[in-house]
């Protein structure tokens, strides 16, 4: 899922300080799971902002809400009848949600309350690691289920670079070498012969280099 972390309070203050009426809007999806933008964080941030501005002698109206998801129009539409009561919205959704919210309410300033970081997993509560870079053409079938795009610092596609040292990455020696992981996994699967088949040059048009990405699933459209 998407992982995000709350922005520093000072940064948020800087964004919203000119607006007298602010709605802090959370998202019940990924950012709730990674404890960055659910209703609890909404309440905490709203309270912190109220305390700050009250303390500054310029109290503001800062209200709280959270939507089921901010990446779906139907849920965003639920804000329709109240959004005019605010001068700005502080969204604690991921970058998608923030943008979609802004898309929908074109004249309303929308600000991000979290930094969207990566697609990752929960190692344990409060520890998340990246696993996917959404490149658009998955090659996990060839690499034993370990992604060289997300887990090799250099996105090497056919084996490690010369900097792999004792299973660690030369870019970040704290990090395991992605290709070491691929090797171990293929070994465990008894599929080391896969190394004999080189991975053909990857089509990057589906990734960032292919420009702004879009999915259209005809099978779901009526």
């Amino acid at each position: 899922m998407i992982r995000a972390v709350g922005k520093p309070l000072e940064e948020v203050i800087g964004m919203v300080q000119d607006y007298p009426r602010i709605l802090v809007a959370g998202c019940d999806g990924c950012v709730t799971v990674c404890e960055a933008g659910g209703l609890k964080e909404v309440k905490v941030l709203a309270a912190a902002l109220r305390l700050y501005f009250t303390q500054q002698g310029e109290p503001k109206q800062i209200d709280e809400t959270s939507l089921t998801r901010q990446c779906d129009k139907e849920y965003l539409a639920q804000l329709g009848d109240r959004i005019d009561g605010y001068d700005a919205v502080l969204s604690l959704a991921c970058g998608c949600g923030v943008q979609f919210l802004a898309d929908m309410y074109t004249t309303k300033p929308v600000y991000p309350g979290v930094d969207t970081t990566f697609l990752g997993v929960t190692e344990e509560r409060g520890v998340y690691t990246e696993r996917c870079q959404a490149c658009g053409r998955c090659i996990l079938a060839d690499t034993g289920g370990v992604c060289p795009i997300a887990r090799c610092s250099k996105r090497m596609l056919n084996g490690p670079c010369g900097g792999s040292d004792k299973g660690k990455c030369e870019v970040n020696p704290e990090m395991p070498c992605g290709w070491q992981l691929i090797y171990e996994r293929l070994k465990a699967l008894g599929q080391l012969d896969r190394f004999e088949q080189p991975i053909t040059p990857k089509d990057w048009t589906t990734s960032r280099d292919g420009g702004v990405r879009k999915i259209v699933r005809e099978d779901l459209r009526v």
Partner: protein
């Protein structure tokens, strides 16, 4: 309105009395009383002193967890005090007994308290005004109390008592010879509770059985003149030191020495004072090593400077579960351990104390300490001896109750059980275990009379208030003058009338008095009150009382809120009347704000399947099964092997000389014959689901591995342990190297072979007390002594040498150690750095070791080398993960609480006994098995358990299934269900609120402490 019952009542047995008397209300007596009262017996709890709690209430912290003693004890005392089926008889003594098991009549003499317990509100004015100061025995006479007093602040019952021996009233006037002077307490008591005319009462109590738990007294060190205990104020006993450390003690927890209140920089502990000393008591008191270490560790924590703590000892006996780790940690924390017995204490300068000792290097040392703590042992008090005589019980040579190793809680008289220190010196968990075991013993004798003597309380069906707007009734208490002398109660009353939703306000002189309660009940009905606020003393002692009255009037007890205007206001702001009145108004306003938002909560009955499952068919499992079956519960005994018997199959005699195999045969026969027991052998547990009262277990049984699904209400884990297979000392390479179990077999099967040996060495701590297994295996020292004595019997000429690190023959086992020395068994100590070496040469086995007296290596041929191999945990990894029960790093199962819940798992409805818990002797396994069966039986018998109303509830619509609640719950209760949302089983939720506060979607609320109910209080304050 259909009445509901708190307790069920069923028909009585023929002549068997469903009541039990528990004598002595220390932790053992309290535990036994609670177990019995919860499982359907009426309990008379007889206590000699004015309050229950015993010695544990005097302790500061407890080993090995360093828990605050009072904190963990107090809830049990409160439960005892409130229990509908426990009658406390304080200031009381047993005087006579007639009848026999099932139907005893006991005469109890209750001495006058001179204070009417019904009237006393524990305000303390009597003590404040009492002119007579006397030594406070609770604080070991380190400070003073008054002649009118409570034993300690958390005492149960919290009622004052007048000490007749010191009260001026009872002292005849020198001139006239008349009594009756002073009477200050009587004059000042606001409740009219002082009654000098009170006389003693004689009760004739009918019970089916008796449990004795009268406890111990500490050895009086003034008997040993060389310590100069009476003359040297800075020589204190360990119990005095507990009081010095205690925050509620004479020095409020500041570590100072009594002589001059100076902070000690160096403290010495002298072990075995009165113990292991043939002049006084030859037995080992079992607990002193651990408490001395604890006191040293805690003292170091207390001191804001580098405190030097030294413990002088003979053998460090840290033999209990995880005790060795505690000892090691203390060494790391800088506690010094000096192996030397100190003979005498001399006075140094400025109150300091001079110790002269020989250490192991045979060097003579002289060291000055600021303070010396005498680790005094346990002994049987004189009045306990005379009670034993009254009851016609046998005592052992040390004056403790005589018990048989295979029936460790039964006395010589049927129907009379014993637990705690009267059955031998022991620590708290073992006392608690024995208490539950004694309760189990009583329970199985009297099972047919369960619920025949218990009291029931009928309450009307609660009124549905859901549609009504809040109508708050406020009752402001004067508490005599306790509140009214500081807070202007009329002002608070007038103020309360102005608060929203308040429909009725009243001032009470004593809200808790019986007549006020009756009057309040009328008011609830007259004014259609549906929320009650009482502004008075403290919810700790009185919430339950007011809630009871609400229930009597058909109001849900959760619609109650208390404003604490005494303990948190008038008592602590006595000089600031105006501020205290303002505070009282705030507290009332806050209470009303919360009260209007309170919701009625239902306590749903817990369904309980009446069947028990016992895992493990060794001595512990069979004893547990047998007792549960005797208590009347259908029991399924699951054993993974073909045969019942477990590890005891390989033990031939106990140290007392009992034939273990004969015992096992008899035990197996009894288990097989019991109509309530079903045995599944060669059975493997494959699935375990459910929760307390409602478990479903799947096992694969027999060679055919057929599947069997068992529904049961409780589970007892008794899966045992095993003997370590040594890889050291040529074990397995030379036939002359044996473990103790091997030796037992040789002596049993071919005694002539053993008799021919000329020299045998025992090597202790093989596989224990090392880096891989830091703990002590507890039973090997006595095992070596037992076998050494047996070898000496076979061949008195045989040279038997035991190479040991510390001889840990705790309790009465010390007698056998002494006997072994008398029989000529040689004992030689070694350090782990200079471990003995076993070699093989042309002649045979050779053993080389460092003689600790000569400080020289010795090399001797041996006919046999016996390794005291560790007791290690069984292979329980899979079982633990299936049942979700925790294990120590060495693989033994972890009980819910090392001190007070020694046979419970933290998952309710699952219990633990035998060596699966930690290594132990057969007698200890039996005792623990009975305890587990007692606890399990008490759980099954209490068919009217309800689920608390205060639990966490998930609002599923907004749950993100994020798993945070699953991860943070300390009790592992929340689970993501098939609808993919979190679900919290109310029967298991403890109501702590951690999940609610951590939920990132804010979709969990704890009922009765919902966010708006709490914030209402905060908002009302401003």
């Amino acid at each position: 309105m259909a009445p509901t019952k708190d307790r069920q009542t069923i028909g009585g047995g023929n002549g068997t009395v469903g009541a039990v008397m528990v004598v002595g209300a220390g932790i053992a007596g309290v535990q036994a009383a609670l177990d019995l009262a919860n499982s359907g017996f009426f309990v008379y709890l007889v206590e000699r002193s004015p309050a229950i709690g015993g010695v544990m209430a005097q302790l500061d912290k407890t080993f090995p967890t360093n828990d605050c003693s009072m904190c963990i004890l107090s809830p049990k005392l409160v439960e005892c005090g409130r229990h509908l089926n426990i009658q406390l008889l304080t200031l009381a003594e047993v005087q006579e007994i007639h009848g026999e098991v099932g139907d005893f009549t006991i005469t109890v003499q209750e001495y006058p308290r001179y204070i009417d317990m019904e009237k006393c509100i524990a305000c303390g004015l009597c003590a404040e005004k009492c002119p007579r100061s006397v030594n406070d025995e609770f604080n070991q006479a380190l400070n003073k109390r008054k002649a009118s007093f409570v034993k300690y602040p958390q005492a149960v019952p919290l009622k004052y008592v007048i000490d007749r021996d010191h009260c001026i009233y009872f002292k005849p006037d020198k001139k006239t010879g008349k009594i009756g002077r002073c009477r200050a307490c009587e004059k000042f008591c606001p409740a009219g509770a002082v009654d000098f005319s009170q006389e003693g009462k004689t009760h004739h109590v009918k019970v089916g059985s008796v449990i004795l738990a009268p406890g111990f007294k500490t050895f009086d060190p003034s008997r040993a003149a060389t310590y100069h205990y009476r003359q040297l104020p800075n020589v204190v006993t360990s119990l005095e030191f507990e009081r010095i450390l205690s925050a509620s003690g004479p020095f409020e927890g500041h570590l100072v020495r009594p002589g001059d209140r100076a902070e000690p920089k160096k403290i010495a502990w002298l072990q075995c004072v009165g113990s292991r000393d043939v002049k006084y008591h030859s037995y080992c008191s079992s607990v002193c090593c651990m408490y001395a270490i604890k006191e040293a560790v805690i003292a170091k924590e207390h001191a804001p400077y580098d405190l030097d703590c030294a413990i002088f000892y003979m053998d460090m006996r840290t033999y209990g579960k995880d005790f060795e780790r505690y000892y090691l940690r203390a060494q790391e924390q800088g506690v010094r351990f000096v192996r030397s017995r100190i003979h005498s204490i001399d006075l140094g300068q400025d109150g300091d104390l001079l110790l002269r000792y020989m250490d192991e290097d045979a060097g003579l040392h002289q060291e000055t300490f600021n303070m010396v703590v005498l680790s005094v042992g346990m002994e049987v008090p004189g009045d306990v001896k005379s009670m034993a005589a009254t009851l016609g019980l046998e005592l052992n040579p040390h004056d403790f109750a005589a018990t048989h190793p295979l029936t460790p809680v039964a006395t010589s008289r049927p129907g009379i059980f014993v637990c705690g220190a009267m059955a031998g010196p022991k620590d708290i968990p073992e006392s608690v275990m024995q208490a539950s075991a004694a309760a189990a013993g009583s329970g199985s004798l009297l099972s047919e009379a369960r619920w025949t003597r218990t009291r029931t309380k009928e309450v009307p069906e609660p009124r549905d208030v859901s549609g009504e707007p809040p109508r708050v009734g406020v009752f402001v208490c004067d508490c005599g003058i306790n509140i009214a002398s500081v807070v202007s109660v009329p002002e608070v009353v007038e103020y309360a009338k102005t608060l929203p939703h308040v429909v009725y306000v009243q001032e009470n002189l004593f809200s808790c008095s019986q007549d006020t309660q009756v009057q309040m009940l009328k008011v609830f009905e007259e004014h259609q009150i549906n929320r009650v606020v009482v502004a008075a003393c403290t919810p700790l002692t009185h919430e339950a009382l007011f809630q009871e009255t609400m229930r009597d009037s058909g109001l849900n007890k959760y619609l109650f809120e208390m404003a604490n205007i005494r303990n948190q206001d008038s008592w602590v702001h006595t000089q600031e009347k105006e501020e205290a009145t303002d505070k009282a108004k705030d507290l009332v306003r806050m209470a009303v704000a919360r009260a209007t938002l309170l919701k009625p909560l239902v306590e749903v009955p817990l369904t309980i399947n009446q069947r028990a499952l016992v895992l493990g068919g060794g001595v512990a499992g069979m004893n547990a099964a047998l007792n549960l079956a005797d208590q009347g519960f259908e029991t399924i005994l699951v054993e993974k092997e073909k045969e019942l018997g477990g590890l005891a199959r390989r033990v031939h005699h106990t140290i007392e000389g009992l034939d273990v195999q004969a015992y096992l045969d008899d035990l197996i026969a009894r288990v097989r014959a019991h109509h309530n027991i079903q045995i599944l052998t060669q059975a493997l547990l494959v699935s375990f689901i459910g929760y307390k009262g409602n478990f479903v277990t799947e096992v694969l049984v027999g060679p055919g591995m057929y599947e069997r699904k068992i529904e049961h209400g409780v589970t007892v884990v008794a899966t045992g342990a095993q003997e370590y297979r040594p890889t050291e000392f040529l074990y397995g390479q030379h036939p002359g190297v044996l473990t103790q179990l091997d030796l037992g077999r040789v002596m049993h099967e071919s005694p002539e072979k053993a008799a021919a040996w000329q020299r045998v060495f025992f090597v202790q701590c093989v596989g224990s007390r090392n880096a891989e297994n830091p703990n002590c295996s507890r039973i090997c020292c006595q095992g070596a002594v037992k076998h050494a004595l047996e070898l000496k019997m076979l061949n008195p000429e045989m040279e038997v040498v035991i190479l040991y690190r510390d001889m840990r023959t705790y309790g009465f086992l010390e007698d056998y150690y002494l006997e072994a020395r008398n029989q000529g068994v040689l004992f030689s100590r070694f350090d782990p750095e200079q471990s003995p070496r076993v070699m093989q040469d042309k002649e045979g086995l050779v053993l080389e070791f460092q003689d600790h007296v000569l400080q020289l290596p010795v090399r001797l041929p041996a006919d046999a080398v016996v390794l005291s191999a560790a007791t290690v945990a069984g292979e329980h990894e899979e079982l633990a993960s299936l049942m979700k029960i925790p294990r120590t790093s060495e693989g033994f199962f972890i009980e819910a609480h090392a001190k007070l819940r020694p046979v419970d798992f933290s998952s309710e409805g699952i219990f633990l006994c035998g060596s699966a818990h930690s290594p132990k002797l057969i007698s200890e396994s039996i005792s623990q098995a009975l305890a587990a069966a007692g606890r399990a039986g008490a759980f099954l018998a209490d068919t009217t358990q309800t689920i608390s109303g205060i639990t966490a509830c998930v609002e599923p619509e907004r749950c993100a299934a994020c798993l945070i609640c699953v991860r943070v719950c300390p009790f592992k209760v929340p689970q993501i269900n098939q609808e993919n949302v979190s679900e919290i089983n109310r029967a298991l939720c403890q109501g702590c609120g951690i999940c609610a506060s951590e939920c990132p979607a804010k979709t969990i609320q704890v009922s009765h402490y919902e966010d708006d109910q709490l914030t209402a209080k905060i908002k009302a304050l401003f």
